[in-house]
Symmetry: C4
Subunit: 358 residues, 4 copies
Amino acid sequence: MTHVCLADLERAVRDVLPGEIWDFLAGGSGTEASLAANRSALDRVFVVPRMLRDLAGSTTEADLLGRPAAVPVVVAPVAYQRMFHPEGELAAARAAGEAGVPYVIPTLSSVALEEVAAVGGRSWFQLYWLKDEKRSLELVRRAEDAGCEAIVFTVDVPWMGRRLRDMRNGFALPESVTAANFDAGTAAHRRAEGVSAVADHTAREFAPATWESVAAVREHTDLPVVLKGILAVEDARRAVEVGADGIVVSNHGGRQLDGAVPGVEVLAEIADAVSGGCEILLDGGIRCGGDVLKAVALGASGVLVGRPVMWGLASAGQDGARQVLDLLAAELRDAMGLAGCDSVSAARGLATKVLRYG
Amino acid sequence: MTHVCLADLERAVRDVLPGEIWDFLAGGSGTEASLAANRSALDRVFVVPRMLRDLAGSTTEADLLGRPAAVPVVVAPVAYQRMFHPEGELAAARAAGEAGVPYVIPTLSSVALEEVAAVGGRSWFQLYWLKDEKRSLELVRRAEDAGCEAIVFTVDVPWMGRRLRDMRNGFALPESVTAANFDAGTAAHRRAEGVSAVADHTAREFAPATWESVAAVREHTDLPVVLKGILAVEDARRAVEVGADGIVVSNHGGRQLDGAVPGVEVLAEIADAVSGGCEILLDGGIRCGGDVLKAVALGASGVLVGRPVMWGLASAGQDGARQVLDLLAAELRDAMGLAGCDSVSAARGLATKVLRYG
Amino acid sequence: MTHVCLADLERAVRDVLPGEIWDFLAGGSGTEASLAANRSALDRVFVVPRMLRDLAGSTTEADLLGRPAAVPVVVAPVAYQRMFHPEGELAAARAAGEAGVPYVIPTLSSVALEEVAAVGGRSWFQLYWLKDEKRSLELVRRAEDAGCEAIVFTVDVPWMGRRLRDMRNGFALPESVTAANFDAGTAAHRRAEGVSAVADHTAREFAPATWESVAAVREHTDLPVVLKGILAVEDARRAVEVGADGIVVSNHGGRQLDGAVPGVEVLAEIADAVSGGCEILLDGGIRCGGDVLKAVALGASGVLVGRPVMWGLASAGQDGARQVLDLLAAELRDAMGLAGCDSVSAARGLATKVLRYG
Amino acid sequence: MTHVCLADLERAVRDVLPGEIWDFLAGGSGTEASLAANRSALDRVFVVPRMLRDLAGSTTEADLLGRPAAVPVVVAPVAYQRMFHPEGELAAARAAGEAGVPYVIPTLSSVALEEVAAVGGRSWFQLYWLKDEKRSLELVRRAEDAGCEAIVFTVDVPWMGRRLRDMRNGFALPESVTAANFDAGTAAHRRAEGVSAVADHTAREFAPATWESVAAVREHTDLPVVLKGILAVEDARRAVEVGADGIVVSNHGGRQLDGAVPGVEVLAEIADAVSGGCEILLDGGIRCGGDVLKAVALGASGVLVGRPVMWGLASAGQDGARQVLDLLAAELRDAMGLAGCDSVSAARGLATKVLRYG
Ligand SMILES: Cc1cc2nc3c(=O)[nH]c(=O)nc-3n(C[C@H](O)[C@H](O)[C@H](O)COP(=O)(O)O)c2cc1C
Ligand SMILES: Cc1cc2nc3c(=O)[nH]c(=O)nc-3n(C[C@H](O)[C@H](O)[C@H](O)COP(=O)(O)O)c2cc1C
Ligand SMILES: Cc1cc2nc3c(=O)[nH]c(=O)nc-3n(C[C@H](O)[C@H](O)[C@H](O)COP(=O)(O)O)c2cc1C
Ligand SMILES: Cc1cc2nc3c(=O)[nH]c(=O)nc-3n(C[C@H](O)[C@H](O)[C@H](O)COP(=O)(O)O)c2cc1C
């Protein structure tokens, strides 16, 4: 059957992925209030479309960190993608390359970052702060050497949030999947009742990053630095002050602080406060082109998409991931035109209304 | 069984129409968020009725584009009405005539506009912008010659929105139904998996209209011109500036931009901004006389009704369509009186409260 | 089984009353949006209780139209109470007398008003405006002569609203039940498909009242006059101007204009505007003592209760109706004390918060 | 099975406790609107977490009434804990001691307060006002002598609210459980249809407290006095004026006035008004560490937790109660860190957003 929207892929994949891997992918932390709120927040935003404007020469092209992307979409960093498909990050990165959008290689990539970067296309590197600062900066250097165009420094993970599904499942990585960017030890594979081995592993390897860690990264590289996981206006302002080139307004897909406000709810305020000081990306719950349009109308330069690309990957590897990105692009083209926007920057001017229904 | 409200007809028809034709009629685009919101928006509006005012000589009569209608209701343009009943637009137009309300003949009428106009009553012509401007203006001229009283220029369809139901159904027109106003080719009848043939067909035939297209129509005819599909205050103002005689505040029944704000939510603001500069009609989700009262209280001169008239048509042809219009008229008469209004203009002064329940 | 709240009685009665009589009692007009909103509006009001105030000498006694009632509760006028129990209005009025609260005898009483008034206790007379003004004023005179203490002039019924349940049921009065206050003819007993005989009957007998009708009543009697069915602030103000002694802020239990705002939503505003110029009662959806407390906190002197008293009547005649009023009184006593109020006027000072949950 | 959150324990216990004891524990008064609202109010609060702040030396330690607690959590007074486990208050108090948090011994303790206080750890004594003031003050003196550190004077119980579940169950105490702090008579054990024997018993024993009762307690003891059950800003201000050391903003877990506003909804306002004049605790619906974080962010020094500790007690006595407190502590540690807070006072500075979803 043809998939006419991303939810079709979600359903298909939920039925075939092993339960605990589905749970790892789909779940959030705690009561999953923030996970649910990410969607609710987008559902409440309505757009006021414009009519009769010239659509000749329309383009969805976007400038992301100074370079063009086919659409204002980035593949979000997602750990251990070989859990979803044997080719993991390689397949997903190739799909992103074909689709003309940046791919963020995770620190917890299950394929070495150099191999992923080698598939071509634009790649960015997502950094988790390791217990040893030197090793952290080494990762940055390796990413730079491998041709990554930016460092996406994830700042909302001093440790992993309490993902109850994983704890209930006593979840551990399958034997065949490992953190390929460094010598990861065996902790992520050790099953124990009531414990997420993945959380346990990151607690051993990672340390809470601070503004000093950001300064260290900033000094260490000339690549653009993007702070991923900002929700407070003050933190956004400080990001600009310390020389960040961008931020991702995000609650980490509802996987860190349960009860954290959805990015959508603070986006406009942050865009206002930052007013061009750095690039603003949004993630969390983006499920169709119309959601991308909403994010842009509220002030984002573009969005990151996490789970949906994994649905594509799980369903048909590179082709599946590509199908997801193509659907998003087609939907965005449609939505922009129907809203009277011939470019992403035209979409930034659209009015929105927050309505509460249901 | 007697039908005591329009929802009774809806249920009856849903059970007998072929599934994919029902879906074509009932469906919206994307997640159908705007479709659902059209109803939710009306459900949240409550009216503050007035008491003890003189109701002797009460009338539901309305002035629409300078001429009287029995009620402030217009039959909305709906494509391909022969899908719902063999007599299609002829039956529906006759019903409108009997009920004393204008009927909008669609560009995509399945009966030639001249034949439909010939049934008598008031008819308006709905214009889609064809790829060739000359052919578009020819349609306008034919409508004028056939006695149509107004041109309803639909401005929210640069192309058809993504109607997922139709895509899932691989929907195409039945052989016996065609676009009768022009040589339409075979595209609308070509079934393909995952594709709406109707959307495909309109993509081939229609071009995005612009404000220049409006100017061309405005110059080409002396008939009143109504722009259908306006949601932004700025577009409403511009409509007045370019000499439009009316606008339809509408998100096209939730069938174009999924996530577009419901007309009801912007109506009062637009009525305020336009303040009499042109006539303001509303459509989307009108399902009873009380909804008409709400629309008028919020600033509309009247409403368009789409799907319900088709339920009537599908259930019993001309009689069925007539029954729908009669029910609406009876309900409106009731609602106006219970709200203390002896005329449509009295209803325009009613206060409303937007409440969020459920 | 003991009934610990009114909802227990409702459930019990729903299971035993003939379906169409239940529907007549329970139903509202149209989509029953106003009926549902009456409850939702009350559910959203939360009270800020006070603590540690002296409760010695607490009383629920209220002053209603210048005379004391045991609680600020009035039995609302409900037509044709012999449908619910053979003793009908007699049983209900006796229960009200025992409970120390006024009973409103309806124009459409199924026992002659003189007989009902004769049971003792406080009775008020509810007036519908008959086609013939003289006959209307005759009713007023008869009520006065029978010892009624007030005229409750219902102003929101120029005709009966569209009660779809009754229309679907083709509802007519049982043979044994008639409008006992006047020669009512047979219309209310004539069954026809899709028609409510009761609505049909009132359409024949009643005429829309106007402010002039109010003036006529005002001149005709020295009894206090209460206008029942006011929702607009302007109408409340005018009621004071024309010498009304009270108003009932009410949407007629959701039975007249479907989409009419619930009284609770406009009560505070009206209380403010009227500021003591006349007595303000509320009705619609009062189902427990806590609801009475909310109404008083929002500015009412008291409430009318309709359906619940009929549940009691239907379940056990006079004793059942009495049980309802006793439960309400016990609940109110409890709620007042827990909110720190030793009197109804103390309750009028309570703060409220409107919260939206669920 | 491991319990990964408190709701796991709730489910487990609901399945094994006798129905009427479960109902006594879980239920609220009336329609349970305030009970439900306690949760809804917390669910609507979202936190704006801060990033990249130094978490070295993080602590959840809190100052409660001038002394340290391991977390800003207090075990709420809950009557008759031997109903949930044979060791009742002894087991629960020991668990609190192990967890390093204060335990509030109820007036209606099923173990004598001296025995409970003797288990060690911090204990506070909860006071209900007995009919005889002298006996009330005697309780205070006994608590002081037994080493209790504070008097928690419950001010929202002039009598017990109408708990319909208990009334339906004709609930009475099991023979083996009694009010151990005084000679309680037999009323609480006398079953009668439609009556809660526990409510009946308290009506016989307790009297409505007033501000004078508070003054009497204030004079009678040098221990800190905390008023439990404050919801109005004026009452909070007066508490400070009469020398209270703290207040518990609370609607008594939805068990007293049904329709009383949830504490969460008035907390910020009260914290503002009191501005440090006394300590502010919150209770009602706290079910995870994230809820504690929300309470602190809104202005509380800490929270009381009622039912969840009883779930633990019922499931595994002292160990179970301890497990509840440990889970809360672990969750709070997690939430504070993910929100960038190294201390409870840092958490007090967090911004919140009230969002309405669902
Ligand atoms: C299974 C999974 C693994 C993730 N791994 C990482 C990661 O390693 N690093 C990171 O910064 N974010 C990670 N994220 C968060 C995503 O980058 C992104 O913020 C989030 O998924 C966006 O929400 P969406 O999935 O609703 O699009 C992960 C998310 C998921 C679902
Ligand atoms: C099946 C269907 C076909 C439609 N075709 C057209 C059309 O050809 N031209 C047009 O301007 N609007 C068209 N519309 C939109 C209607 O004119 C109208 O805006 C909408 O149906 C109003 O909402 P309602 O159906 O909820 O009353 C169509 C709507 C439906 C449901
Ligand atoms: C079955 C029924 C009959 C009624 N008949 C009358 C009537 O004859 N006159 C009148 O003024 N109101 C009438 N009412 C309205 C009530 O007086 C009152 O406004 C309404 O029932 C209050 O709402 P409640 O039923 O939710 O308490 C009737 C209501 C019901 C339910
Ligand atoms: C079964 C039960 C018994 C209670 N007994 C008392 C009591 O004796 N004294 C008192 O002040 N509060 C009592 N409370 C109220 C609690 O102290 C506390 O305010 C409430 O339970 C907090 O809400 P939570 O249960 O949602 O945490 C009781 C609560 C419950 C559930």
